[in-house]
Amino acid sequence: MTATTSALRGRATPAPTRGSGGRSTSKAARLIPSGIAWILPAFTISVGLIYYCIGYSGYLSFFDWTGGRSPMFPVGIDNYVRAFTDPIFWTALRNTLIYFVVVFAVQVVGGLLFAALMHSRIFFASVYKVIIVIPVVVAPATLAPAHIQVWQTDGTVNQILKTLGLGDVAQAWLGQSTTSLIVVTLVGCFGSVGFGFILYFAGMSQIDPEMIEAARVDGASNLRMLFSIVLPNLRPITISLAILNFITALKLFDNVWLITQGGPAHSSEFLGTLIYAQTAGTSRNVGYASALSVILLIIAISVSIAIQRRGRERAVKLEEPADV
C-alpha cells in the first residue's frame, strides 16, 4: 500500500519537460498510468490472445459451426437454450458443485490438520511434508493410470476388501453411475490436501506468536485458540482456496477424462469434459462448445466475486468493535 502511494505521489510531481507546452504534456502524462510502457507488451499479448479468444468464443457461441472451413450458420441463442435444456449440462453442474464442496472441505480440514501437525514438534517433519506435497506436484496424467489401477474392478481397493473378508462391498467403482463421481472426487481430494497444507503452513507461520501466548495466558484451550485466533487469521487463505477450488472444479478436465471420460452414461461429467467432448468428437460442435465455455466463464467470474465480497463483508464485521 505504501509503495503504491509513493508511486502516485511521484507522478503528481512531473519532471520538467523540454520545449513549450510543458503544461499540456504534464496533463497528458497524468492520464497515462505509470509504467504503461513496461506492461504494454504483456498487456497486448494478453488482450490479443486471451481476451480475443474469449471474445471470439462469445461470437462463435451464436453459430452452428463444425470448425475449420465448414459453413457457419447463425442460430441466435439456440446454443444457450440447448445448454440450459440439456440434462447432461445440469448433471455436469451438479457434479461440479459436489466436487467443489467435498474437495474444498477436505482440503481445508486436511490442510489445517497437517499444517498444525507440522508446526508442532514431531519427528521426521520434513519427510512428512514431502509426502504431503508430492501429489500436488505430480501431473494428473502421470497419476491417472495408478488411480485406474487402484479403482478398477480387479484393482487394489477391491483386492484389499476381499482380503479383509469384505468381498460383498467390492464393486466396479469406475463403471457405476453411483460410484464414478466418488472416485473422481476422491482423486481430487488426494491432490488438493497438499496445496491446502502449503498455504496454511505458510499462513500459520505469519500469526503473531504473542497473540497465541496472550491467549494461553488468558487460559484459552487449543480448540478455542484454533477457532478464535488461528482460523480468523487464515481467513484470506481459506477464501482464496474457495475461489481457486471453485474455478478448478469448473475447469476440471484432465483427471476426469483420463479416469472415466465423464462416464458411465455421463454420471461423472463435468463442464470441462463436456466442452472437450463437443469439440473432439467426430462431429464437432464448436458453436455449442463455445456457448458452454461462455457459461463456464460467467459462472466462474460471478462466483469468484460473490465469494470475495462475502469474505470482505465478514472481515469487516469481525473488525467492527463489539457493542458494549
Binding site: G67, R69, A172, H266, G281
Partner: protein
Amino acid sequence: MNKIRTVSAAIGLAAAASLILGGCSATTASDTSAKPADSGKVTWWGYTPDTPVAQKYIAEFNKKYPKITVTYKNFENVDYRNTIIPALDSGKGPDVFDLSPSGGTPEQWGPYALDLTSLAKAQLGADWESKIGEGYAKQLRDAKGRLVSMPMGGMSAGFLWANNNILKQAGAEVPTDYTSWVATCKKVAAIGKSCLAMGAGGADTFPTEMYHSIANSVDPSFFLKAATGKAKWSDPQGVKVLSIIKNMAKDGIISSDVLDAGQYPLANEKFMKGNAAFVQMGFWYTQYSGAESCKSAMEAAGVSNPTCFVQLPVTFPDVAQKGNGSQLFGEVDYGLAINSESSNIGAAKTFVGWLTTSKSGQQDVANALDLLPSLQGTAPDWSNISLVDDAVQRPAIEKLIAESVTTKQTRQYQTTQESLNAIVVATQQVLDPSVNTSIDDIVAQQQASSKASTVK
C-alpha cells in the same frame, strides 16, 4: 510526444499481434492442377495405418518412385481430429492426410482437399467408380460432389475374434447362438479366463458395434431404419437389443469390468494378453493374425516375450435366436486426401494415385491385412503372408474377406454422432448394475437424444 510514442508502440504491438494471429490463416501458393511428379517430398498424416504398415507401403512405393520421399506421422484418433484442422488452417499442414466418411468428415475437412475425381479418372479410366469398392466413392464425396479423398480400402465389422488356443484348452466350441455362447463362456470361465473382452466405458463409440450386431440378429433391417429415422430406437426391436445386452452381462458373457474403460485399451489388452476367448473388433484386427505382427500387438498390450496364439474371425452368434443369423456391416474405412495448399501436389498425386489405385499399391494394402483393398479384384498374396497357423487362419480370413466385400449394411456412415452417442449411453445404462431405470425408459431417452441421419 511520449503519448504519441506510446500510442505508436501500442499500434505496432497490436499490428504484430494481429500478424501473429493472422499468420494462423496464412496460405501458400499451390498448383492444384499440377500433374503427378516423379520427385518431391510428401508428408502424410493419419490415425491409421500403424506406422510399421505405413512404412511398408512407403518402402514399396519408393521401389518405383525413389525420388519421392514420403514421411508418415501417426496420431491417436482423437489427437488426429484435434490436430488436422488447425494444421491445415495454418497452411503448414501435411501434403496428404487421412479422411474417412464418418461423422460428416468429408464436409468438415473436404474444403481443405483437392477434388480427386480427375486423378481417379486418369488412373482408372472414365468408369473408375465401377473398379473400386461399391459405394466407396459416394461415401468420400462432399455435398458438392467433389471426391475429397481417394479410397484406400474398406473395412467390415459385426463379427468376433476368437482365441483358438483358449477354446481348445477349455474344450469349448465356437458359439452359434445365445445358448451355446453361455455354455462356451462357462467352460472358458472354468479355466480362469474371461469370455468376451469388451470395454464399453467412457465416451468411445465402440459399443455401437455390439449393439448393431445384436440388432441384426433381432431384425436385420432395424439398425439402419432407426439410424435414418424410418424406425425408432424405442421400438420393440430396440428394447429387445438392450434386453439381450443386459442378459449377456447377467449370464457371464460380458464381464463385470465392462465399464471400467473403453474397448481400447481394456478389451484390446485383455484379448492380446491371451486372457479372453473373444473380442469384437473389425477387419483391421486381421493384421494381428500375422506371425510377426501378432508379437508386436501382444508386446504393445504389455506381454513380454510373447508367444502368439491363433486368432480367428468367427460369425457373431445369433443371440436373438430368431433365425436371422448374423450380418456384417462395413464401408470405406478411409481415403487419402491431398491438401489443396500443398506445395508438393505433383508428388502427392503420384503417391496417392499409386497407393489407392495401382495394382501394386493395392496389393500391398491387401497383404497388410489391415483393409479390404479398394481396387476390386485385389486379394492378399498368401505366398507373401505368414500367419501364426496358416492352415487354420487362412480359410477363416478368406471367408471373412468374401463376406465383407458383399456386405450391404453401412457401419457408421448413415448414423449420426448423436445417435451413436445415444447408443453408447443406453448400453452403459443397461450394463451398469447401479442403474434402476427400466429398459423402456432407457430406450425412450435414447430415442430423444438421437438424431436421424439424412444420408441415403
